[in-house]
């Protein structure tokens, strides 16, 4: 059994939950079919198994180091990335006219998942490079694309995103990095950037840093932020590498997880000679960076889901092999011990993981499909509708997996007991890796504020209305299915509470109070979305069970069991949370700093 992929579930997501066969019939993707996709996924899975997975523990134990001159990383990282590049995966999702393979996004998500489950520390370098290349492709000039895109899509150069600064993390409007125009056309960049993943290393010939900076004299706050290409080595007009740019690595951060990816404090322009090139229009940097950030946010949710998948697969395998104890009614010590997977509470821990992983997975496939459909339609109304759905679901797609798939990793450790707490087993590493996802790409709280403060009200609540219509469609489609009747009613009720809670909060006059429990709202909202997607999966499974044979019977029964679990054990929690939010509870708001310890920390 693979420890990084469940290919049956992948096929379910691609061909049963979504309709990838229909995507193959479009002009854009007509060269693809099931056989080719299967072969491509085989290659991805094999490289992830052979080159990424075996060194995951070693990379975790031997994080990159900096001697003041250069960054050292164990050689397996470069070898893994080289195999990824040779397989053509950097360019996989890009259009054919820029040298890509024009792979359907749904397939690209799947293959990226194998690498992410196997070794997120290596995967991040490729993930960031693809994201930066995507942004360059979307907003760069032809000249910029000619210069940078080719080597990035071949994996020869890597890419990063440089937003945060030591004094400005979540509060982007407070960044200080300065970009001064010169007569030669380039800008001089000056400032420090913090938390830059892949910011420096020797894995690639060049690093294309995508930097947010302010052009002096521009508007204040986020409206005065511009985006710049700042390469580690300057690039000559013929594409060859020139002098090293004035970027210096001030130090590496030493992280809890994701330890294979360098995380840097970078100083730009210490000697006043850091060349940057404006990407997109002045002061539109943040808008353009969102090309990368929205993709990255779905990617973060997916990464969280894949770390949980790896924990789920490992702990399931372990629970089938580990013998321990007997059922409460069988006390006779002369009888053989049971594999722990037979114990009810272990089943609960495993089912909780399955419900989180496959629920989150459905959400990420759904969002990726929205992105895909946007590409496949010329109809402006349809595009607008898809974009709105994506707007409201992006904070959920990033945050729900980060919270509840991390919880799944906690359960995986619990299944292994003491062994799970040791570094001899991978589950504690998976937990540490996953803990990052709650923090980066906008912290959990930021997404709560984004959802409750902005997304549910945008365009007079249009995005929320669209999402409600989608959920209603599933409710209508399942209303006659007797086996799903209970879930249908529960979801309808939860949806009603969600709407009422949202209205109550919006009607309140004080914004601080409105947003006081935005994080709680985010979690509860996410639960309703995941419950909806479990009902959809259960609908498909119920229909498929009628003609299922062999292992498929257990597969579909498993989907129904997970749906049942989610509706019984998880969805009720959302109702409690919505109550707190609609009460406009001020417990935390009223808290004074001195209440925490009796001393005022201010």
């Amino acid at each position: 059994m693979s420890l990084i992929a469940n290919r049956r579930d992948v096929d379910f997501m691609m061909y049963e939950f979504l309709n990838l066969d229909k995507v193959f019939q479009t002009e854009r993707y007509q060269s693809y079919d099931r056989e080719a996709v299967s072969a491509i996924l085989d290659t991805a899975e094999a490289i992830a198994e052979d080159k990424y997975l075996p060194c995951a523990a070693k990379l975790d134990a031997n994080e990159p180091s900096f001697d003041g001159e250069k960054v050292s990383i164990i050689p397996e990282v470069g070898e893994g990335l080289q195999a990824f590049a040779e397989a053509g995966f950097y360019a996989a999702s890009f259009d054919e006219d820029v040298g890509g393979a024009q792979l359907p996004g749904i397939v690209n998500l799947t293959l990226a998942g194998f690498f992410s489950a196997a070794n997120p520390g290596i995967n991040s370098y490729a993930f960031l490079t693809v994201g930066a290349a995507n942004m360059l492709n979307a907003v760069g000039t032809q000249e910029q694309k000619d210069k940078y895109l080719g080597p990035m899509l071949e994996g020869k150069w890597s890419g990063t995103m440089c937003l945060s600064e030591p004094q400005a993390g979540s509060s982007l409007s407070d960044i200080r990095t300065k970009a001064t125009p010169t007569e030669e056309g380039h800008y001089l960049i000056e400032g420090s950037k913090m938390w830059i993943s892949g910011g420096d290393h020797e894995l690639t010939e060049n690093i294309v840093e995508m930097v947010l900076a302010k052009i002096p004299g521009g508007p204040p706050g986020v409206r005065g932020i511009s985006l710049f290409i700042v390469p580690k080595y300057r690039v000559n007009d013929d594409g060859s590498l020139g002098a090293k740019n004035d970027i210096s690595l001030a130090g590496l951060n030493h992280k809890m997880g994701h330890r294979g990816t360098t995380n840097c404090l970078l100083n730009f322009g210490e000697n006043g000679d850091c060349h940057g090139y404006l990407l997109g229009k002045p002061h539109e940097g943040l808008k353009n960076m969102f090309h990368m950030m929205n993709e990255a946010r779905i990617g973060v949710g997916h990464g969280a889901t894949m770390s949980a998948l790896a924990g789920f697969l490992y702990s399931t395998k372990y629970a089938g092999e580990r013998l321990q104890g007997r059922h409460p009614q069988d006390k006779d010590p002369s009888t053989p011990q049971l594999p722990i997977i037979e114990h009810t509470d272990i089943k609960r821990l495993l089912m909780a993981q399955k419900a989180a992983v496959e629920g989150a997975s459905a959400l990420l496939y759904y969002c990726t499909d929205l992105v895909e459909e946007q590409k496949l339609t010329d109809d402006k109304d349809a595009q607008n509708r898809l974009a709105l759905l994506l707007e409201i679901l992006t904070p959920i797609a990033k945050s729900w997996p980060s919270e509840f798939c991390l919880e799944a990793n906690k359960h995986a450790i619990q299944v292994l007991g003491g062994y799970g707490y040791t570094r001899e087993f991978p589950v504690e590493r998976l937990y540490r890796d996953n803990r990052l996802n709650h923090i980066h790409e906008g912290t959990h709280a930021i997404h709560g504020i984004d959802l409750l403060g902005r997304k549910v009200s945008m365009f007079d609540g249009a995005a929320l209305k669209l999402l409600l219509q989608e959920v209603q469609a599933t409710l209508s489609a399942t209303s006659e299915m007797s086996a799903l009747g209970e879930y249908n009613k529960d979801l309808e009720q939860a949806l009603k509470v969600l709407v009422e809670t949202t209205e109550t909060v919006k009607a309140h006059e004080n914004v601080n109070t409105q947003l006081a429990n935005a994080t709680i709202y985010l979690d509860a909202f996410g639960h309703v979305v995941i419950a909806w997607l479990w009902l959809r999966q259960a609908q498909i499974a119920t229909n498929a069970l009628a003609n299922a044979q062999g292992d498929d019977v257990a597969f579909y029964q498993g989907k129904l069991a997970a749906c049942r679990y989610f509706f019984r054990y998880e969805l009720p929690k959302a109702l409690v949370q919505f109550k707190l939010v609609s009460d406009l509870d001020e417990t935390c708001m009223d808290l004074k700093p001195e209440h925490l310890t009796g001393n005022n920390p201010l």
Binding site: S2, S31, E35, A87
Partner: protein
């Protein structure tokens, strides 16, 4: 020089085989199937010879069910030029495979036939040797190195006592061992290019050779489960137990 590479579709090496409830064989329903790893090594070697400019065309051939076409596509994605699918139902035994391959070789006239030393499903290790005998060509089996120069195929063989190098006058049959090379991954662009490469389909019956099985499978069972061992107090007890068991 043209190279012929026979490849076999087998149960994936990662899959734990399950015996069918009626004990007639291994259950292959809904089981992941892939190219036999030894065959992958043969394809890789052929591609490397082509990259060195020694080989001009690589023809891959597979005998079996229609889905063996996927195995041919994998070989084409690794760098083979065209495929021949020979459809046959049921188990085709090594002698029957060798006979069909002889007929293909008569038609294709390759300078070299490169094939895996054995397939991981039945572990027969017979086809290459039988094929060489039927063709009356020299054979170099269990190759860990293949060098083609001055019209000769020099094959370093892994044998019990170490390594043996034989120089074969072409055309020749070479079977590949595990250490010959590390097969490449089929890249995304090459998988898509392979879709456009030609695959000829023929029926095994059209070759006019007798492929009917000569063996009868009585039953297939799981290996007996390993039973728990026994701890003894001291060496003397161990020796007496071993004697009692007839081991000493």
């Amino acid at each position: 020089m043209k190279v012929l590479v026979p490849v076999k579709r087998v149960i994936d090496y990662n899959v734990k085989p399950r015996v069918k409830p009626d004990q007639t064989g291994v259950d292959l329903a809904n089981v992941k199937m892939s190219m036999n790893p030894f065959c992958e090594i043969a394809v890789e070697e052929a591609v490397r010879l082509k990259e060195k400019g020694i080989v001009t065309e690589i023809v891959v051939v597979s005998i079996g069910v229609a889905q063996a076409q996927e195995t041919l596509r994998t070989a084409l994605a690794m760098g083979a030029d065209r495929g021949i699918l020979i459809t046959a139902e049921g188990d085709v035994e090594p002698l029957a495979v060798a006979k069909i391959l002889k007929a293909v070789a008569d038609e294709e006239q390759p300078g070299l036939i490169l094939l895996g030393k054995q397939a991981i499903d039945n572990d027969n290790n017979q086809t290459g040797q039988m094929l060489a005998a039927l063709l009356d060509w020299p054979q170099g089996t269990f190759a860990s190195e293949v060098v083609v120069e001055d019209g000769k195929v020099n094959v370093t063989r892994e044998i019990d006592g170490g390594l043996q190098t034989v120089a074969l006058e072409g055309p020749a049959v070479v079977t590949t061992d595990l250490r010959l090379n590390e097969p490449r991954y089929a890249s995304l662009p090459n998988i898509m290019k392979a879709k456009k490469k030609p695959i000829d389909t023929k029926e095994a019956a059209s070759f006019g050779v007798d492929i009917s099985p000569r063996l009868t499978v009585l039953k297939v069972t799981e290996p007996a489960e390993r039973e728990a061992g026994e701890k003894v107090e001291d060496v003397a007890t161990l020796v007496s137990k071993l004697k009692a068991a007839g081991a000493l």
